[in-house]
Amino acid sequence: MSLASYILGILAALITLGVVIEMLRRRRLRERHAIWWLIAGVLALVVGVFPGVLAWAAEVVGVAVPTNLIFFVSVAILFLVCLQHSSELTALESQSRILAQRTALLTLRIEDLEKAAQASPPAPPTSPVD
C-alpha cells in the first residue's frame, strides 16, 4: 500500500465522520438515524489508520481476501440503514393517514357547528362573574 492510498483511506473516513457529526450538531440528523453512519465512519477510520486490524479480522472470521470483509460489512450496514428507513417510512405513512382522518373529522365538525350556530341565533353574551 502506497502512502497516498493510506492517506486517502484516512481522509475519506475523517470526512464521513466530520459531515455526520456536523449534521448532528446542526440538528439536521437525529441520533437514531446517524448511529449507523457513525459506526461505519469509525470502522473506516480504524481500518484506515491500522490496516493490520483488517487483515487480523479477516483471518479471525475466515475471509481469505481482506477486502471482501470490507464489502461484506459495507453491504450489511447499508442494508440495515435501508431497513430502518423502510420501517420509519411505514410509521410516518401511518401517522399522516391518522392526521388526515383527524383533520377531515375536525373540519366536518366545525362545519356542523357553524351550521348549527347559523340556524339558531347566538346566545346573548354572559357577563363575566367577578
Binding site: 401511518s94 391518522i98 382522518q101 377531515a104
Partner: protein
C-alpha cells in the same frame, strides 16, 4: 337491542360511502340510501377526489368528510367508524359509492346484525346476476374458503364492500381497521374473527358497476391473489386484538 323497533335502529345507523372521483354516481347513491331508509344518516368520505364528489354528495343530503389526500378505502372507513363513535351511532354500514349495491337491501343486513357483529352482503350467494369469471373468480373462491374457516361460518364473498358493522365491531374497527391494500376486506375479517366477533353473510343482488368493468386479465388476477394471500398470511401471524366492550377511545 333485540326488541327495539326498526326505526330506532335505523336512527342509530350510519351509512358510510368511501368515494374517490365518483361525482357521476355518488349523488344518486346518497339519494337512494336516504330515500329507501327514512331516518338513516349518511356520511360520504371523500378520499382525496379531484372532481366534485364532495359537492355532489353534500347537495344530495349526506354529511361529507374530505380527506386532504388519498389514503385508501381502509383509511376512509376508519374515519367513518370514528365519526360514528363520536356522534353516537352504534351501527355502521359500508356501501360502495359507485352504485353497485342496492341500498334497499340495508334492512336485510341490519336484521342479520341482530345476532352478529359483522354482516357481509355476499354477491355470489345465489341472488342477482353478478358473476366474476376466470382466474379472478378462482382467487376469490380460494380466499373465501380460507376465510370461512377463520371466521367459523360459510362466507362466499369476502371482498364485498357491502357490509354492516355492529357496536362491538365499530369500536374495534375505529382503532384497528387496516389501511393497506386488501386490508380493508381480508385483514379486517381476520381481525374481527380472531377478536371473537360473530360474522354472518346475507345474499345480496349486485348491480353492474356504473362505470368501469372488472378485470379478466389472468396476470392481474394472479397479482391480486398473491397480494390477498400475503395480506391473509400476515393478518394471521399478527397477535389477536381483544374486544373492548363499549369503551370509546378518542385517541
Amino acid at each position: 337491542m333485540a326488541d327495539s323497533p326498526i326505526s330506532d335502529r335505523i336512527a342509530r345507523t350510519l351509512v358510510v360511502l368511501p368515494a374517490l372521483n365518483e361525482e357521476g354516481a355518488v349523488g344518486e347513491v346518497v339519494a337512494e340510501v336516504l330515500r329507501s331508509n327514512p331516518g338513516i344518516s349518511c356520511l360520504v368520505v371523500d378520499d382525496g377526489s379531484t372532481d366534485d364528489t364532495a359537492g355532489v354528495a353534500a347537495r344530495a343530503g349526506a354529511h361529507v368528510a374530505r380527506l386532504p389526500f388519498n389514503i385508501g378505502v381502509g383509511g376512509a372507513m376508519r374515519l367513518g367508524f370514528n365519526y360514528a363513535i363520536e356522534n353516537g351511532f352504534s351501527t355502521v354500514i359500508q356501501v360502495d359509492a359507485d352504485g353497485q349495491h342496492d341500498p334497499s337491501e340495508i334492512p336485510e343486513l341490519l336484521q342479520e346484525l341482530e345476532g352478529a357483529d359483522l354482516v357481509l352482503g355476499a354477491r355470489f350467494a345465489g341472488k342477482g346476476e353478478y358473476d366474476a369469471s376466470g382466474p379472478r373468480r378462482w382467487a376469490m373462491v380460494l380466499l373465501s374458503r380460507i376465510l370461512s374457516r377463520v371466521a367459523g361460518t360459510k362466507l362466499t364473498d369476502t371482498t364485498s364492500g357491502f357490509r354492516a358493522t355492529g357496536p362491538r365491531a365499530v369500536v374495534l374497527f375505529a382503532e384497528h381497521y387496516p389501511s393497506e391494500y386488501l386490508g380493508d376486506t381480508v385483514e379486517s375479517l381476520v381481525i374481527a374473527a380472531r377478536s371473537g366477533c360473530v360474522i354472518r353473510q346475507v345474499p345480496v343482488a349486485m348491480r353492474p358497476r356504473a362505470a368501469g368493468t372488472p378485470s379478466h386479465n389472468p396476470l392481474k388476477a394472479a397479482t391480486y391473489l398473491g397480494r390477498a394471500m400475503m395480506a391473509l398470511v400476515f393478518a394471521l401471524m399478527r397477535p389477536p386484538i381483544a374486544l373492548t366492550t363499549g369503551s370509546i377511545d378518542n385517541r
